[in-house]
């Protein structure tokens, strides 16, 4: 402490500020938000290189085209950068709201502060479930065990000590009196001095190589494969178009520029931006409902999720646990049960506020209301054996005038298994004598939806320290019963999940009768109940069957939660898991969507993809809708690309072979592509039809393939029709032909979004989003007046005759109606 310039009083706020200035914030640069990275990403796009080649080639022969192409590169980069920067900034700001906290002594008083504000010399405390926020030297600890697998790969917990260790040139693993940033407290408590923060920590020095990557989601994989397929197809087409155009006698440079422009028209260059904008939009909407998305892509999984595994407390129940009753095996209300429960208690009692384990808090609140807490003032707690999930109980060693007492409190079956005798009306009796009556009463309480804990004790000899080995030969004193009523809006949320095709499964460490009662009260039909003890006897095939059939998994261990998630995933489900406990982290990480709550322990929040600031299932149901909206709008972009855009470029390539001139100049194609991109930018804000939100969706490449095959030719057909009108009705020269086709293809490829975006009647039974309508119609208006402007003249357009506009309107209306009729046929026949 002396070396670090600190004391038992911790640092002063002023000193901490000064040290933060010198050493920097206690954070790692793994997730740092960087505008440079976003900018560089814009140049990694294959489109950029295609356009660059086109601009360089054009520069030698057609300087005007070269300038136009460079302007379009600049515009594309600015457009992509602006949208992705805005989207990522939103996500980063949201992520900042879920920060890890640390309890530090500042100015002599304990205070909960953001862990990034810790400085060397800070005196901090750690508890079960905490992620150690910095490297620290322990000054005090109790049964402290830490999982250091993040540093060493060793998953078995390491015991820590505050004693001095004599080792020459020690490795971090040998420093048993140190704790390292990123490791997890799995047992006990500790207090220590911060010795290193941020990049100076052991974790900081290797953090880049430890940055955790999660496997691609089904949707990500599908979209990536689709993009790659289009790029490969484009490359083949470009080479083919160039070769054929050159062979039929078109100028080589024109042929090259034309084929490159067609390539630009085919590449789905807006895909990353559409996905990013859609996700950030969804994240922002979810944040309004106090849901923080830590991993953007998990929103897609949330929309596709068809099974949600959740605990009971706080999600289905109010989480506001109240003490109902306390009773001895004889049935009487012995006040010692409550007094002992107060002494063996982990609640943190502050001025006017009691926090900690909800059942311990409930005991304190009850005692405070009845004045019982005063009865324990003559007792001194000399030692504690903390709670853990294996024992499912805790103990306290208490000294009073009559001697030393070990009090144990916890799950009834755990405590009863360590009891040899029980207090009863007939005095002290062997536990077997009252066991049947007690079990029957416990079952009755559980069947009514009440949770019960047991309290036992024994006299012990005074000694410096106690351990779990002392929790034997206990005398059962009695039980405390708690109420945890169903949540007001839980039924509504469960109904909504059912309507959305999401199957809810309850994974609880609690009694199956309590869980079944809650389900009954909430109208959740229970098909089968599987106990943890049954699960251990099952083969992997039986587990895979059980997870399909069961609604409740009771009395299960954290490891079994993981087995259930794995089995569901093997059965091809998209699984969400909601957990907030110390041992929920593996299941949270294994699930497709890990959900935690802000009040959960650090390690669960860290493993989660999505953090709920309030433990509320209803907001989660709304989040699923957001996920389905993202999926829907990204799919729309894909369908647009595969139908009208693809069809246009395909017919342009085909026509270039028999026309004596190019059907459109390369810079005209590029400009049309830019306008098309601008119009599509608002797709993420579009409205999704109700039926699309009804069921989970899966990426279906067969659907996209059939959609392309069916709708692609519509666009080509109308392009060829325009060629016919321009050539044979208007006898158009190249400039007029190119202008006519530019306007027609732009109208059709942009306006068709209103038809493709829904299975319903466009505008009548399915209204598009406001911004999509405004921007699309504005883009069409701009494309229409373009031939009459200076810019149009620069791009090589000429004014079109009035008769053309009349035919164009008729033709486009027929086209849109035909696509709509085709849509009816397609969905009827293909049954998607």
């Amino acid at each position: 402490m002396k070396d670090l310039g600190t004391s038992e009083q911790g640092l002063s706020q002023q000193e901490a500020q000064e040290r933060l200035r010198i050493y920097g914030y206690n954070e790692l640069p793994i997730h740092a938000f960087s505008w440079v990275r976003i900018l560089i990403r814009q140049f990694k796009n294959p489109l950029f290189f295609i356009l660059l080649v086109a601009a360089i080639v054009a520069g030698f022969f057609e300087p005007r085209q070269s300038i136009a192409i460079i302007a379009m590169i600049a515009l594309s980069v600015v457009l992509g950068f602006y949208n992705e920067y805005k989207a990522e900034k939103i996500i980063e700001d949201l992520r900042q709201t879920v920060s890890l906290k640390a309890v530090a002594i500042r100015d002599g008083k304990p205070a909960q502060i953001d862990s990034k504000l810790l400085a060397p010399g800070d005196l901090i405390s750690v508890y079960v479930g905490d992620i150690v926020p910095s490297d620290m030297r322990l000054v005090e600890c109790k049964d402290l065990e830490v999982n250091e697998s993040v540093l060493t790969g060793e998953s078995f917990p390491v015991e820590k000590t505050s004693a001095t260790i004599q080792v020459q040139h020690p490795t971090p693993q040998q420093l048993m009196n140190y704790m390292f940033m990123g490791t997890v407290v799995v047992h006990g408590t500790g207090r220590g001095v911060v010795v290193a923060t941020g990049k100076q920590t052991e974790f900081g020095s290797i953090s880049k190589s430890l940055a955790r990557t999660r496997p691609e989601t089904e949707f990500q994989r599908g979209v990536r494969k689709y993009g790659n397929m289009l790029i490969s197809l484009t490359l083949a087409l470009v080479i083919g178009i160039f070769a054929l155009n050159a062979l039929v006698g078109h100028a080589v440079i024109d042929s090259l520029l034309f084929s490159l422009a067609v390539a630009v028209g085919l590449v789905p260059e807006l895909m990353p931006a559409i996905v990013t904008i859609s996700l950030s939009q969804a994240a922002r909407n979810m944040a309004k409902q106090r849901v923080v998305v830590k991993r953007q892509v998990s929103i897609e999984d949330l929309g596709n999720m068809d099974v949600l595994c959740t605990d009971k407390t706080g999600t289905l129940t109010s989480g506001k646990i109240g003490l109902k009753d306390y009773w001895a095996p004889s049935g009487s209300s012995d006040q010692r049960i409550l007094q002992y429960s107060l002494l063996c208690n982990s609640a943190i009692v502050g001025a006017g506020e009691i926090t900690g384990n909800p059942m311990d808090v409930a005991i304190w609140e009850y005692a405070s209301q009845t004045g019982l807490q005063r009865d324990i003032e003559s007792n001194v707690v000399v030692d504690e054996i903390p709670f853990d999930y294996q024992r499912r109980m805790m103990s306290a060693v208490v000294k009073n005038g009559s001697g030393t007492l070990l009090i144990t409190k916890g799950a009834p079956e755990s405590v009863l298994s360590r009891c040899e005798q029980a207090e009863s009306l007939k005095g002290i009796q062997p536990i077997e004598a009252i066991r049947q009556a007690v079990d029957s009463k416990l079952a009755e309480q559980a069947g009514s939806g009440y949770r019960t804990i047991a309290v036992a004790y024994r006299n012990v000899e005074p000694k410096p320290s106690y351990s779990v080995d002392d929790e034997t030969k206990l005398t059962l004193l009695g039980f405390v019963t708690f109420t945890d009523p169903p949540k007001q809006d839980a039924r509504q949320a469960l109904d909504k999940f059912k309507a959305m095709g999401v199957d809810v499964k309850i994974l609880t460490g609690d009694n199956e009768l309590v869980a079944a009662k809650i389900c009954e009260q909430l109208g959740l039909r229970v098909y089968r109940v599987v106990r943890g003890s049954e699960l251990t006897q099952m083969t992997s095939t039986e587990i895979r069957t059980a997870v399909e059939e069961a609604t409740i998994f009771a009395r299960i261990t954290p490891e079994q939660k993981l087995d259930i998630i794995k089995a569901l995933k093997l059965n091809k489900h998209v699984v969400g898991f909601m957990g907030d406990g110390v041992n929920d982290a593996p299941a949270l990480f294994e699930s497709d969507v890990g959900l935690s709550v802000d009040s959960g322990v650090d390690v669960s929040k860290d493993a989660a993809d999505i953090v709920l600031l309030d433990k509320d299932l209803l907001v989660l149901a709304n989040g699923i809708e957001e996920g389905r909206k993202v999926f829907g709008n990204v799919t729309k972009y894909i369908l647009m690309g595969t139908s009208s855009n693809f069809g246009n470029m395909f017919s342009a390539a085909g026509a270039s072979l028999f026309l004596p001139f190019l059907p459109m100049l390369p810079m005209q194609i590029l400009f049309m592509n830019l306008l098309y991109d601008v119009a599509n930018m608002t797709l993420p804000t579009d409205v999704i039809d109700v039926e699309f939100k009804d069921l989970p969706k899966r990426w279906d490449i067969d659907f996209v393939r059939k959609f392309t095959l069916f709708f692609g030719p519509f666009s080509s057909l109308y392009d060829f029709l325009t060629y016919g009108i321009m050539l044979f009705i208007f006898g158009a020269a190249p400039a007029l032909f190119q202008t006519g086709w530019f306007v027609e293809s732009f109208w059709t490829e942009v306006l068709v979004i209103f038809v493709i975006r829904t299975r319903r009647v466009p505008f009548i039974t399915s209204k598009p989003g406001k911004w999509l309508t405004i921007l699309t119609l504005s883009a069409v208006a701009f494309g229409t007046v373009l031939p009459f402007t200076f810019l149009g003249h620069f791009l090589g357009f000429v004014p079109l005759p009035t008769e053309f506009w009349i035919l164009l309107v008729l033709m486009v209306v027929t086209y849109l109606l035909l696509v709509d009729a085709g849509k009816v046929f397609f969905y009827k026949v293909c049954k998607f």
Binding site: I725, L727, G731, T814, L817, D820, V824, V829
Partner: protein, 99 residues
């Protein structure tokens, strides 16, 4: 016509698009029959399902004739008639769920 020598190639190109679309429609229809053999046997083809395809073929004929005659009047009138038929078709064939 300035580009009359291109008319044949043009007619082939536009017909190819329409024929391809019709072929795809038939392919999808046949696949659908195989998928649900209980509800409809492969031999039982409902003409109503193919109204859309018949309309498409009709449209193609209209377009080729109007352009071959360089008549914007036939083109306009034909389009209006087809649009009316298409509206009727989509209204009649839309299931309750998709309206």
């Amino acid at each position: 016509m300035q580009y009359s020598y291109l008319l044949f190639v043009w007619a082939i190109s536009i017909s190819w698009s329409a024929v391809f679309l019709i072929a795809v429609s038939i392919f999808l229809y046949v696949r659908r029959k195989h998928r649900s053999p209980v509800k409809a046997s492969p031999s039982h083809v409902r003409l109503n399902d193919f109204v859309f395809v018949i309309l498409l073929a009709g449209l193609l004929g209209l377009y080729i004739v109007s352009i071959e005659r360089t008549s914007s009047l036939i083109f306009a009138a034909g389009n209006i008639i087809v649009e009316a038929i298409l509206v009727l078709y989509t209204v009649k064939n839309r299931s309750a769920a998709s309206t």
